[in-house]
């Protein structure tokens, strides 16, 4: 159950830093690698999950007594009778690491921030694999988080409450629905008994969203 990260995808970190991996100079790549190492040594990923039955309603999807409003998630979870709700966090250590760099070395702070973003994505990928293994023979759309499509960010607190996340993994949401510690994710992984249509992941949930070169030129990175 505990997830221990041993390596991070350096190209992904470079992409988050706003630097196309094939054009990164050696010192930038070295910085990304060094910061990836520091993040791996510092953070303690924690996660928790719960499985819910889903009910499709007119205004959205009902999960554990909570109505997840919007059309996009409803369409996304088509064919899924259940879902795993999970959250993951790198903990306060990642935030402290970035904060420390920010007072004196912004390039390092940026690289650490992006390495931590890559780390939390990696943690989520690993969680997905663990969850999928619990449901052999089932089918899964990509994980979906508040803020994707029209699924409101205001759900963060309720989702964390459903997971008892503050007590179990120390994850909270601020009044403006920012997850704290910062490098954290809440997500819903649909579970279907029969094959479903495979969709590409939305850019909105991607940590590279702000500075993505592909998106700026109207494209998609191809990561699903």
């Amino acid at each position: 159950m505990p997830i221990t990260l041993t390596q991070l995808n350096i190209d992904e970190i470079l992409r988050y830093m706003g630097c196309p991996p094939d054009k990164a100079d050696p010192s930038t790549r070295a910085l990304a690698e060094d910061c990836a190492g520091q993040v791996l040594r510092t953070v303690t990923p924690r996660w928790t999950y719960r499985i819910f039955d889903l009910g499709l309603e007119e205004k959205g999807v009902r999960m554990g007594g909570l109505l997840l409003t919007g059309e996009d998630l409803k369409a996304h979870l088509e064919g899924c009778g259940r879902a795993a709700l999970f959250c993951a966090t790198l903990g306060a250590g990642a935030d402290a690491l970035i904060r420390r760099a920010e007072s004196g070395d912004m390039a390092r702070a940026l690289a650490l921030d992006c390495a931590a973003a890559a780390a939390v994505e990696e943690v989520c990928d690993r969680i997905e694999l663990e969850l999928q293994a619990m449901f052999p023979g089932c089918f899964f759309p990509f994980r979906y988080s508040p803020g994707y499509g029209d699924l409101p960010l205001t759900l963060q607190r309720d989702l964390l409450t459903l997971l008892d996340a503050p007590r179990r993994v120390g994850l909270t949401a601020s009044a403006s629905n920012i997850l704290l510690p910062r490098k954290s994710v809440t997500a819903i992984l649909g579970i279907a008994q029969s094959p479903i249509e495979r969709k590409n992941r939305s850019c909105l949930g991607c940590p590279a969203h702000g500075g993505c070169q592909y998106r700026k030129s109207g494209g998609h990175c191809g990561i699903s």
Binding site: A32, L66, A96, S103, M106, D113, T172, G210
Partner: protein, 797 residues
């Protein structure tokens, strides 16, 4: 019976068990607020409380764990009404057979620096609960399931300042022995006993089998009774349920009696059956009453430093005689202090002295800012350095951990003003052996003052171990006989009073040549006389070498581990440079400063600037070397030849150059680099500030004075700063769709109050269209564009 009488009795004290799981078993639905049970399901709650009392609980926790105004905000109920009803109901259920505790759980919002909740607001949230709970007749307060020591401190202060209730404070640890936020039992115990808790301990987190190492650690650091309230084993990862039975729980808990645990209860997953079985299992046990002695130590929220060997206090965060730091304080540039902090801890300082006293600034406000900021980036304990009680109290309130107060002296006025603060906030204190008659010449007179300080401290209830005596260093060039007197006083304080000693070392050599030589030798002599806490510049290798050598030679550094770690593969210079450090000689063919900035080479850029200043005017360098170089990098960034990391690295190099130029310019009136003031802020509710910080570095390099208000900034604070600094431009950043509204409100306020400034906005979710719609004058898509905007606003120079 009162809590204190209960504590005096020889046997174990039984607390209650889980509440949330019991309510769910009664039928509380998913999504219902358990905090409202006293109002909505009083019968269930009464039955649960009664079941615990019947099982043997001598103290039951009222259902107020989450009854704070933050968590209740969406229920339409106030904290006061929920707390009153819950405590009243618990008292009724107890019927005099058990004491009732007001239960204070986490607020549910993280405090600064990880979160955005301010310390004083947290105190206020708990205060509301304490007032209602005490009025409703609670017998004591418990603070539990905490993971942030700062939040426990807020709750404890709220209880102490608003009631006379005794307090049990317990935190929730993981198996590695720390809370989610990094607090360890040692830091918790030292801090909370210092601040007046009546019992400390562990709850929730783990099962009883995981308790022994945590309990053992607590017993090393507190003399208080220990309370343990674990879960029913370890949780099932994907849902409800814990892994041990009531009988197993009871047996494991009873084994804790051997470790001296006084208060026993259960947390998640435990029921009245667990308590009843635990009572039976404990019935035959005696609580081992082991006398405990807690050594002298200070701590932050996550790091304890026992004064069991020489501990170095870094002296660099102090404006006395430091032009650059004075400048930084006047500018309000906290980053300067943070860099000093990191540099000193990197060099080996165990504790950092913090002094921000400068006549023309608000010392109290600056002290709070700096203490909070330093604690956000390092876990080294701090020594709060001021003679003003107001400054000290402000700093002590926000300081997380057990600090050192520097200082009191032997004067009655100083003692009565400062010692009560030391006691209230559980700090240690430095006592200077001087009084209104000045520094006594003789050792004996210094001893008299040291005794006076100690007696007074003890009379306030301050532990002997928390009084550190400073025998004062006199400049040997002015008073050559002084050094031996200081050393003799040190020896006597150490031997006769058994107190820890502290000494500022560097003053000894003032006015002499070869100062490092004198300082190093004096430090060694002082350590031999029993100096525990030298206040020195840890960045000077010769001083740290003296400390490391002392530990080696006195057999404190066992197997020479630290010594070899420090010097094993380094070439140690055995010569000591006399006088001030001389800048390194010009390297042959120092590269063009502009090229160094473009390449992002920080150290080299700083050095090249120093050399260049010998032949060119400071502003000439800024305008004709630095800015053109940054422009070239900026142009390459825009055309996709370089990318954000390189842009920032160039900015970092230019910043290093700028520091050198600023140093040169400081103290030359009218020779400012200032090209206009810009206020930057991440808007209210938002805490993503990395983008804003990148913008800040870039703007500073173009010669603008940036007033950085940080993150989660109130619209009113932005308007006030813009007016105060006559800022021509205000830059606002937001990264969340949910906080764009705050951005809009801030701009609206600037317009409404007619603050004469332009606005520029940026952030991942912003678009030029939205920027225009909310009334911003400019939109900047990246840091480079924000510089272009500044040039348009202030004109290119």
């Amino acid at each position: 019976m009162e809590f204190h009488e209960l504590l005096k009795a020889s046997g174990p004290i039984l607390l209650d068990g889980g509440m949330g799981s019991m309510l769910q078993a009664k039928g509380l639905a998913l999504g219902e607020y358990p905090e409202l049970a006293a109002l909505e399901h009083p019968d269930w709650l009464r039955e649960i409380h009664q079941a615990y009392v019947e099982a043997g609980s001598q103290i039951i926790y009222a259902n107020t764990f989450g009854a704070n105004r933050e968590k209740l905000s969406r229920t339409g109920k106030t904290a006061a009404e929920v707390v009153s009803a819950s405590v009243a109901l618990a008292r009724e259920a107890a019927g005099g057979r058990a004491l009732v505790a007001l239960d204070l759980g986490p607020i549910g919002q993280l405090l600064e620096p990880t979160g955005i909740l301010k310390f004083e607001e947290a105190v206020d949230i708990f205060k509301e609960m304490v007032l209602a709970g005490a009025a409703a007749g609670a017998d004591l307060a418990v603070i539990e399931t905490m993971t942030d020591l700062q939040e426990v401190r807020a709750a404890l202060l709220a209880v102490k300042e608003n009631s006379s209730l005794p307090v049990i404070a317990t935190m929730s640890y993981e198996e590695r022995g720390r809370t989610f936020l990094g607090c360890d039992p040692a830091s918790a115990a030292l801090t909370l006993e210092g601040m007046g808790a009546d019992a400390v301990g562990v709850n929730c987190s783990l099962g009883p089998r995981e308790m022994p190492p945590l309990v053992e650690e607590l017993t090393r650091w507190t003399t208080l009774p220990i309370a343990i309230k674990p879960n029913a084993g370890l949780p099932d990862p994907g849902g409800a349920g814990y892994d041990i039975t009531a009988e197993e729980f009871a047996q494991s808990m009873a084994d804790l009696a051997d470790l001296g645990v006084k208060l026993y209860g259960g947390c998640c997953g435990t029921t009245p059956e667990y308590i009843a079985r635990m009572k039976a299992a404990l019935a035959g046990r005696t609580i081992r009453d082991i006398p405990r002695k807690v050594p002298a130590a200070v701590c932050s929220g996550s790091c304890t430093v026992p004064i069991d060997r020489v501990r170095v206090i870094g002296e660099r965060i102090n404006p006395t005689g430091k032009k650059a730091m004075k400048e930084a304080l006047r500018r309000g540039d906290v980053d300067y202090m943070l860099n000093q902090a990191l540099e000193q801890t990197g060099a080996g300082a165990d504790i950092l002295d913090v002094n921000v006293g400068l006549p023309e600034i608000d010392e109290a406000e600056m002290m709070v800012r700096v203490v909070k900021a330093i604690q956000g980036i390092t876990d080294a304990p701090l020594q709060l350095d001021s003679t003003d009680p107001k400054v000290l109290e402000g700093a002590l309130r926000v300081y997380c951990g057990k600090a050192i107060v520097n200082s009191v002296n032997g004067d009655e006025e100083s003692l009565t003003a400062i010692l009560p603060l030391v006691k209230k906030y559980g700090a240690a204190v430095v006592g200077l052996t001087l009084d209104r008659n000045g520094i006594p010449k003789s050792t004996e007179e210094r001893m008299v003052i040291a005794r006076r300080i100690l007696d007074k401290a003890l009379s306030y209830g301050i532990r002997r171990e928390d009084v550190y005596i400073d025998c004062l260093t006199l400049t040997v060039s002015a008073e050559q006989a002084g050094a031996s007197q200081t050393l003799e006083a040190l020896r006597r304080v150490h031997a006769e009073l058994g107190l820890k000693t502290v000494l500022g070392v560097s003053n000894i050599s003032f006015g002499l040549p070869a100062r490092p030589l004198v300082n190093q030798n004096f430090l060694t002599m002082a350590m031999t006389c029993g100096l525990d806490l030298p206040i020195i510049n840890p960045n000077l290798e010769s001083m740290m070498a003296a400390v490391r050598s002392y530990h080696l030679l006195m057999n404190i550094d066992r197997d020479a581990r630290d010594f070899i770690a420090a010097y094993g593969d380094a070439k140690v210079s055995t010569t000591i440079t006399a006088g001030n450090a001389v800048p390194a000689p010009a390297e042959a063919g120092v590269r063009d400063l502009g090229k160094l900035v473009e390449a992002g080479l920080k150290n080299e850029a700083g050095q090249a600037t120093r050399l260049l200043l010998a032949e060119r005017e400071p502003m000439d360098i800024v305008d004709n070397v630095l800015i053109p170089a940054l422009d070239r990098v900026g142009a390459d960034f825009e055309t996709g030849r370089v990318f954000l990391p390189q842009l920032i690295q160039s900015a970092g190099a230019a910043q290093a150059a700028f520091e050198v130029i600023r140093e040169k310019l400081s103290g030359q009136p009218g020779r400012e680099t200032d090209k206009g003031a810009i206020v930057l802020a991440t808007v209210k509710g938002d805490i993503h500030d990395i983008g804003k910080n990148i913008v800040k570095v870039l703007l500073e390099n173009y010669g603008y004075t940036v007033i950085d208000l940080g993150k989660d900034v109130d619209p009113a604070a932005v308007a006030e700063a813009a007016r105060k600094h006559k800022a021509g431009l205000v830059g606002l950043s937001a990264l969340m769709t949910t906080t764009l509204k705050s951005m809009e409100e801030t701009i609206a306020l600037l317009h409404r109050e007619q603050v004469p400034c332009k606005t520029v906005v940026g952030g991942a979710v912003l678009t030029p269209e939205y920027a225009a719609q909310i009334g911003a004058d400019f939109y900047a898509k990246d840091a480079k564009e924000s510089v272009d905007v500044a040039r348009r606003v202030f004109g290119t120079t």
